[in-house]
Subunit: 200 residues, 2 copies
């Protein structure tokens, strides 16, 4: 099944919006900016999206789905390799130059804050989804190595830490305009993960 024309247009809008968010942030990105980037007009935009917030939701949703696809693509036989490979993949995808670094979910949720409940909910569920995948990976790797949780919810906390390390390193990297921070922080996380799992 080929993509319909409308679907192609919507993807173009999402692409443009995503790129602009990583450059300027969500609220600084106007609908006129998106129209200019896509070559469309404002009428065309509002034919496809009811509001700017609706577009924000769509961008976050696609971002999450894309992340899930990438994550699931790295799954291999060995759960330990899967976990570390996943982290490496996150680093490389975030630090590759050309496009600005960042996470649209973090961006939008940070900007809209608790005030805009609609966007906040989508962002929260997106974070929860990613956290669940991280926790599953950590649990699988631990099982494979015969490592038990030291305390109730330890692996859940470790998954939150991984997510925070990723998000936080991108915040700092954006401010410093230096993606090296991301690599450093995630390497450090892998280090402590190895220590926890008593690996080399």
């Amino acid at each position: 099944m080929v993509q319909s024309k409308a679907e192609t247009t919507r993807q173009n809008i999402l692409d443009a919006c995503q790129a602009l968010i990583l450059q300027k942030g969500f609220s600084a990105t106007s609908i006129n900016d998106i129209c200019k980037a896509t070559g469309l007009t404002k009428g065309a935009f509002f034919y496809h999206y009811a509001s700017k917030d609706e577009l924000g939701k769509a961008v976050m949703s696609r971002w999450s789905e894309l992340g899930e696809q990438i994550m699931s693509s790295v799954v291999g036989a060995d759960p330990v390799e899967t976990l570390f490979g996943c982290i490496d993949l996150m680093v490389s995808s975030a630090t590759q130059s050309g496009n600005a670094v960042g996470c649209v979910v973090g961006e939008i949720s940070q900007e809209s804050g608790p005030s805009n409940s609609m966007l906040a909910e989508v962002a929260a569920s997106s974070f929860d989804g990613a956290h669940a995948r991280f926790q599953q990976m950590i649990t699988d790797a631990a099982d494979h190595l015969g490592v038990k949780q030291a305390s109730e919810g330890e692996f859940a906390r470790m998954a939150w830490s991984l997510q925070a390390a990723f998000q936080g390193s991108m915040v700092v990297a954006r401010a410093k305009q230096d993606p090296a921070v991301i690599t450093a922080v995630l390497n450090d996380y892998k280090q402590s993960l190895k220590a926890r799992f008593s690996l080399t």
Copy 2:
């Protein structure tokens, strides 16, 4: 020497702006909002600050200075206790209810992004300052325990990790509207720190 009237007014503006940033974000906070909160008029605002960006710089600067003061207040005799006490202080100051959680430097830098170089520079130097303090604390604690760096720049990376853990946990906590994430992530960081330093 008593505070001049102007200085009091400026502090009120900074207070209002800071609170609004943590609620709605920087770009969503209009100068009219600040005027309403302080009981001033727009003319009065621009008498004290040349532009909105200038106010953003001032808010970040005061935030950093306040952070430095708080950090230096926790310094005790034992460098190890100082380090862990500092982390605890960060958690408690970030999770205390009443005021919204977050970091104005992270907020503003995330929103303005690489586009607004003026704000980005201030944010970057603020992050660098905090990182330097963290690294010093880690180095002091390691010296006190006789722990050497496993590799060049390891303590620097650990300091970046602490900063990222803090920033990232606040990003997630804001989206989920649940400060428990901050506690969990920083506890996890302390755990791995203890493991690295071979503590109980």
